[in-house]
Symmetry: C2
Subunit: 554 residues, 2 copies
């Protein structure tokens, strides 16, 4: 009937793989199961590499990180017992805008009719899809081979457009059914409404031109939509100082002379806070105004002085504009902004230096100080949640280094599997993982997958014997965990080096050894006092107590 | 206005704890997080013991197992990053009818209004609850302290009535709000419609009376609704032979002279299959007719010869009756069934014996043979998924031994955390865990929690170097996993014994050592050939190939 039925044919499974390849996908993370084995066979026969993990949760975190680095990620799992284990990580990808495709196998349509109580079923055969609808921007069950090509195209397009997860369910008896072969992809670039754009630009440029102390605050969407160069252009043409949010950390070379640091209310450095909050016009670009980004309610930004542009809308003061592409807005500003006179001696800053003190017990603060001097351009920093994240906020990240962290959704256990995803996406990047002991116990065993894949991250377990961030909120026995001999895990998994570190010189020795041993992963068990904490966490605590505590704020 | 407002007051958090205690709950499994810390403080101050796990998935599996043994289980987690990690295990509890309460912390109602982008949020504040609605029989967010007492009572009642999970969400600023104190619980026993019951009993007794070769097939609801003694009474009064489903394994002493074994189509023993399928009337009691229970479509039961009673309805041939309590139906049959003449020499059967062969490599078949003679009345068997489960089906379980397995939902990774739940529910029971290496890599690290709690299960890792059950469906590189030195985990976690076993005499030595060392857990790394399999899996394969394979059945 349509033109499609007259074209060459393929199968639904092969069609899906072709489209994934065309979208640039090189790897799929997951664990097989009987309902998805047929599709796994197709994947194995394709140029896509299948990376088997220990858990589906690990696969999904790896996929999220892979997507953040490569622009698209995909995990492939079996029905319910596989898919539902990915849900938390997929929810995190939704919250933080990471373009993840979840492919789930499913019982065959034919067998469903014959035996309603098939294994892995929860309530009915629509249950898993209904659940994924809540954490994705598009979800589809490929139950009709005729409709499948369009469904696949639309779903992948939604993932790429919104930079958010989508869900594709593939019943096992549909994998090999015939469908139309892939046609040339219609790529419709998103365009701004030029009239709206012009109006918004005039107003924004007017505010910025009139401002005496303008500043830029940039966030994670700059990274997701690949606008780092556009941002840099605007920064350098305008001469405005720039801070980033925690989630957007490293979207600009942090040694750049105009870069201030991370803005996160009272949790961040005081000088950054002052510059942003005293600015008479703050240009916010691609940032989520989350509680963590804003230092747990301690940020103080007057909306009447802000221009706030995201991928979804541009807001100036209390009004907002739709149909403006973030890229167009940033480029429009860069083209016409009135340059501020630059300070004379604006030279690139140099990283701080560090000298280890022999026999001195290592602290959180000194650990991060040391780490900063250790970082090289070919490294990527992956921070887990808790004081790992707060402490990492003060790390100066040099150009070309990626910084990844679940700084809004803040799901513990992100970092180790994320390192797997980062390095599969970019083998040139050596991941530096900073993870607490509590988070490590959740997903750290994906170090096994890292060992199997022959990757070489350096994993620092900040071993403070429990959930230390929580100790500063409510202390109780529930914040204690069992202490593992983390550094001995390579004895269980094979090639890899373990280090146990209690003092600054032991840290030096471990760093020296692991820096040159680039052929394998390392795990460094960094013993810390259970009540030690980063400067950022200390600042937050002090500020909250000055204000009479969190509960009294309104 | 109502009487309630005039009574003594308590707080919403304390009310919830009081009701949990009144329902008999002694332990809660989980991991804290800031949105649930206040409630954790109340738990710690209560007689309920909080059992911290490494992961929320582990907490939820432990809760499910605890519920199966104790009649009610509860896990308590933080918002989304905690709750969503429990979803797979909770879905399994739904599928297999296990009474699990999930309590999730949530952002305060007040802070939601002030800062919409609170950490851990996915799409909106209703997202997590909407997801849990799909896998529970009742879900509620306690957002109004006036309504909370009734909401709590109704939700817990639904859990106990349906033996299925429920979800309770508790915003952190509601925990300490005042509400009415608990009133005396109205316990309304479920009752049958006596007219319907009488009609069904007459017809069923007529069929059974007319049958020459009647048989009973009993399932897991006998366990969930505590009907083991009622069933035994019916079995002994009637003289009928009885088989159980795999999910219902051990609901009757398997050495009982009338007990045949597990019925699971071609996967089960041929003599059991013959007796059930050649019976001229099969009385099915509390069984789920699932694909695994029925041996992956190989079962052959003629519906015209069946009476099929569950907690939901009684079906005779092609018609069904509502409003009949399973207990009343079984008791009614027992009271009036015409006893069959018992065979003369019906003595209790004795377990098989085993003699180890020195230097002989251990096989799946010989492992299970040996295990059977090892079991004692104070042990509980927890089987994970795959050939662990199929092999365990042939184990004869003596009276008073619990057998637990996710035999329908079949989620890998159930067994190790389930052992934690089993032993917290019944400290007298020493769990015998049978788990594959693939499943162990998913959740086996909860052995850390077992170590911390000082429990003493014996964990057998059937180490066949990958997903062996899948190798018999589709072999591919995705079925391989990295081999760990499983027996060395006690070196990481502390007290516990590790054994590496390759031969029958090494197994003997490990069993002898672990049997007497009752003060700590053991982990036994049982090396198996990667293509070795149980008798049950071999039988299924043979039968399917005789029938021309699975795909050709209709």
């Amino acid at each position: 009937m349509s033109k499609r039925t007259r074209t060459t044919q393929t199968t639904v499974g092969k069609y899906l793989i072709t489209r994934l390849r065309q979208a640039g996908l090189g790897h799929v993370f997951g664990i097989p199961g009987d309902y998805v084995l047929k599709f796994y066979d197709l994947l194995v026969a394709s140029p896509i590499e299948v990376v088997g993990t220990c858990t589906e949760a690990g696969a999904a975190f790896a996929t999220d990180a892979y997507a953040r680095v490569a622009g698209l990620g995909c995990c492939c799992v079996t029905y319910c017992v596989g898919g539902l284990n990915t849900l938390n990580a997929v929810a995190g990808a939704y919250a933080e805008k990471s373009p993840v495709i979840v492919i789930s196998g499913a019982p065959g349509l034919d067998e469903r009719r014959r035996t309603p109580l098939l294994h892995h079923r929860v309530r009915d055969f629509a249950t898993q899809r209904a659940i994924f609808e809540k954490v994705t921007v598009a979800s589809v069950a490929l139950e009709d081979p005729k409709a499948a090509p369009d469904q696949i195209d639309e779903t992948i397009a939604a993932c790429l457009r919104h930079k958010r997860p989508v869900y594709i369910e593939l019943p096992r008896d549909v994998v090999d059914l015939k469908c139309a072969a892939p046609r040339r992809l219609r790529t419709e670039p998103e365009v701004s409404d030029m009239e709206v754009l012009a109006e918004a630009l005039v107003e924004a440029l007017g505010m910025l031109g009139a401002a005496k102390r303008p500043a830029i605050l940039a966030g994670v969407e700059i990274h997701r939509f690949g606008l780092q160069n556009n941002l840099l252009d605007l920064v350098e043409r305008s001469g405005f100082p720039i801070a980033t949010t925690l989630l957007g950390k490293s979207i600009i070379n942090e040694l750049h002379p105009q870069h201030l640091g991370i803005y996160e209310g009272a949790m961040g450095r005081e000088d950054v806070r002052r510059t942003i909050e005293r600015a008479d016009c703050v240009l916010i670009l691609g940032a989520f105004m989350t509680d963590i980004n804003l230092g747990i309610y301690t940020a103080d930004l007057d909306i009447r002085r802000t221009i706030n542009a995201t991928s979804e809308r541009v807001a100036i003061k209390h009004h907002s504009f739709s149909d403006i592409e973030l890229r167009d807005f940033i480029e429009g500003l860069a083209a016409r902004v009135k340059p501020r006179r630059k300070k004379k001696a604006a030279k690139p800053r140099t990283p701080r230096t560090f000298r280890a003190r022999k026999g001195q017990a290592i602290t959180v603060k000194r650990f991060f100080r040391r780490l900063e001097t250790f970082l090289e351009a070919n490294m990527g920093v992956v921070a887990d949640v808790g004081d790992c994240l707060f402490g990492a906020a003060d790390l100066t990240i040099p150009q070309r280094t990626e910084f990844l962290s679940p700084a809004y959704y803040t799901s513990m256990g992100f970092a180790v599997p994320a390192a797997l995803g980062v390095q599969k996406a970019n083998p040139e990047l050596r991941p530096i993982v900073i993870v607490g002991d509590g988070a490590f116990q959740m997903t750290g065993l994906e170090l096994s997958t890292i060992a199997r894949q022959g990757l070489n991250p350096i994993v620092f377990v900040l071993n403070n014997k429990g959930y230390t961030t929580e100790r500063f909120i409510n202390e109780g026995p529930y914040n204690d965990i069992l202490e593992w001999q983390y550094h001995r895990l390579p004895e269980l998994f094979g090639p890899g080096r373990g280090f146990e570190v209690r003092t600054e010189d032991e840290l030096e020795a471990a760093l020296a050894a692991t820096r040159v041993d680039t052929g394998k992963y390392s795990i460094v068990n960094v013993h810390l006092d259970k009540m030690d904490r980063s400067d950022a966490l200390a600042r937050l605590g002090q500020r909250l107590s000055e204000q009479g505590g969190h509960a009294k704020r309104s």
